[in-house]
């Protein structure tokens, strides 16, 4: 098991190296030109923007030198300064990490706590009303654009019924609330965002769980379990479920890029102060250092997610743990 983990860590290094190269390549498209939007608005501003770009990326030097300089700064966590308010990019990102990671973790939790039992029930009552209902729900939810769903739910619950807050992380007079009330207030604000961000995951994981269980129930070792006289419940929950859960574990790790991508939309719509909203603002303001930092961070979180998925899969599946 240990050498499996070491191999995975070693395997990560070339990937991270590749990530830094691709990130740098993407961003190096920028300094040479600036978008037509700025030029139309005010030539003086764009000249100033160009000069700042040169300084931020020492454009005079050849590409590979620029890359190593950037990499050196990256390693020292000196991600440069934001064009918008000149604050260090690292600080701006750090203060927003808890919100995004929190919401994504919550929605992952919701997805797994709900989708797995739903998948199991749909599998055990295959073809029944519950099974078809979840099938239709999943199919439609996979086709619904997440931002549109958010708009519809905001219209219904926030405006029409007024049950839920329309945006933000907490109410106006949040600072005067006692701790418990603060917690409830944040929770109240997060109901809609977490639901919307977990809908796609619910649809995918519940269908995946259902087919994974159905497949496990057809495996030969199920006959052995039945032949030993074990009751249906034990055969399902001990023998079939444990095998069916194996692929689900990796899905958790692999869904991180999707969640991060989605947070750009949710945090903009619900005005939540997270990495996604910051990224959106940076893109609108062409804040190159901040964009670069977020792209690399996004990749790092994804690589970490894949690593966690790999290791947790090895823990769960003895065939990998004991090669």
């Amino acid at each position: 098991m240990l050498n499996y983990i070491i191999k995975r860590f070693l395997g990560m290094i070339p990937v991270l190296f590749g990530v830094s190269i691709v990130s740098f390549a993407v961003i190096s498209l920028a300094p040479g030109r600036f978008s037509s939007l700025d030029q139309a608005m005010n030539p003086k501003v764009s000249a100033q923007y160009q000069m700042r770009l040169n300084r931020a990326f020492n454009l005079d030097k050849p590409v590979h030198v620029r890359y190593f300089l950037w990499l050196k700064d990256l390693a020292r966590l000196d991600l440069g300064r934001s064009f918008v308010d000149n604050r260090p990019v690292a600080a701006k990102i750090l203060e927003r990490v808890p919100v995004t990671v929190g919401i994504n973790a919550l929605s992952l939790l919701v997805v797994f706590l709900v989708a797995i039992p739903v998948g199991i029930r749909a599998a055990t009552k295959e073809g029944g009303a519950f099974d078809t209902a979840t099938a239709v729900f999943s199919f439609v939810m996979l086709s619904v654009p997440a931002f549109w769903l958010a708009l519809l739910l905001m219209q219904l619950f926030c405006i029409h019924l007024g049950w839920l807050p329309i945006s933000g992380l907490h109410s106006l007079d949040f600072d005067y609330f006692p701790p418990v009330r603060r917690f409830l207030d944040v929770a109240w604000h997060l109901i809609l965002p977490v639901f919307v961000s977990s809908v796609a995951g619910l649809a995918v994981i519940s269908r995946y769980m259902r087919s994974s269980i159905l497949e496990a129930l057809q495996q030969p070792y199920i006959y052995t379990a039945l032949a030993k006289g074990l009751p249906q419940r034990t055969v399902l929950y001990k023998h079939a479920l444990r095998n069916a859960l194996l692929p689900i574990v990796t899905l958790a790790g692999l869904s991180i890029p999707g969640l991060l991508g989605g947070s750009v939309i949710f945090e903009s719509i619900f005005a939540l102060p997270g990495l996604g909203q910051l990224f959106f603002q940076a893109v609108m303001a062409r804040d190159i250092p901040l964009i670069m930092a977020e792209v690399v961070l996004g990749a790092l979180l994804t690589v970490a997610g894949n690593l966690i998925a790999d290791i947790s899969y090895a823990c769960v599946d003895p065939r990998i743990r004991y090669k």
Binding site: L37, A146, W148, L151, L152, Q155, H160, E294
Partner: protein, 264 residues
């Protein structure tokens, strides 16, 4: 066809949509950018079956032209990603360990980036035009098809009927055309259909954020920008474009489901 409802309804939706997009100028009641001065934010009525937007433009016409954008972005973006996937995937699958290791490591690296982050980053540095979006979506979604095609080739290469063909003296080209392609086309087609649905979703999300197709060119995504400000007032601006996106993606998902049944 009848015993495969998914495929039937999926094709019906997409064909109707393609017709709408193709004959947009003929069937659209108004020019998408013509302004009806008395009809600002009009609810659906005889003149404007789907109502008008804040500038008095007919929503139905804008959505009909929007269909063009969504379909063309979806199809061309996926065309690029499938093409790239085909080239890189077959190289990895066919030409042995080094090519395989390099291409697959490159795919792993690209897969590390949340696609939406990568696309937004590129759009931040390149003008957000419909062509750039197609290319960017295409360049950031080739990894799935590449892995699929590589997997198909590797699994087929081991199959005995390919070995038998080689023993018969068939050339590589003949084996690829006569055996690899017919067996791999099914899964690739399913992947492409799902890819189009994904690309349309991406384009509309980008346009909704103002980073996709730039107004005044109508796309379902950028029509919805206005819905944020007219939430409580004009329900039709939120409902109809979103519904169009939903039905389109549903159509492609139906086709994918139907194809899966056929290839078994």
């Amino acid at each position: 066809m009848k015993d495969n409802p998914y495929l039937f309804w999926g094709l019906a939706i997409i064909l109707m949509l393609s017709a709408t997009a193709l004959f947009a100028p003929l069937i659209s009641p108004f020019d998408p950018s013509s302004i009806d001065s008395q009809g600002l934010l009009m609810a659906p009525c005889a003149r404007h079956p789907l109502g008008t937007d804040g500038l008095g433009r007919d929503l139905l016409s804008r959505m009909i032209y929007g269909a063009r954008i969504s379909l063309s972005v979806g199809i061309i973006a996926v065309g690029i990603s499938i093409l790239l996937g085909l080239i890189l995937g077959s190289c990895a699958g066919f030409y042995g360990r080094i090519a395989d290791a390099l291409i697959m490591r490159f795919a792993d690296i690209m897969l590390c980036f949340p696609t939406f982050f990568l696309i937004l980053a590129v759009i931040a540095v390149v003008e957000p035009s419909i062509y750039n979006i197609m290319i960017v979506i295409g360049l950031t979604s080739w990894m799935g098809p590449a892995r699929l095609i590589r997997g198909e080739i590797l699994s087929l290469k081991e199959r005995e009927f390919i070995q038998a063909e080689r023993a018969l003296g068939a050339s590589d080209a003949r084996i690829i055309i006569r055996h690899l392609v017919p067996n791999a086309v099914g899964p690739v087609l399913v992947n492409a259909t799902l890819g189009i649905a994904g690309a349309i979703l991406l384009e509309s999300s980008l346009s909704f954020l103002g980073l996709g197709v730039q107004p005044p060119v109508p796309s379902w995504g950028n029509i919805l920008i206005e819905s944020k400000s007219t939430l409580g007032i004009a329900w039709w601006i939120t409902v109809f474009p979103g519904l169009a996106i939903l039905i389109t993606i549903l159509g492609f998902n139906f086709i994918a489901e139907g194809l899966k049944k056929i290839i078994g």
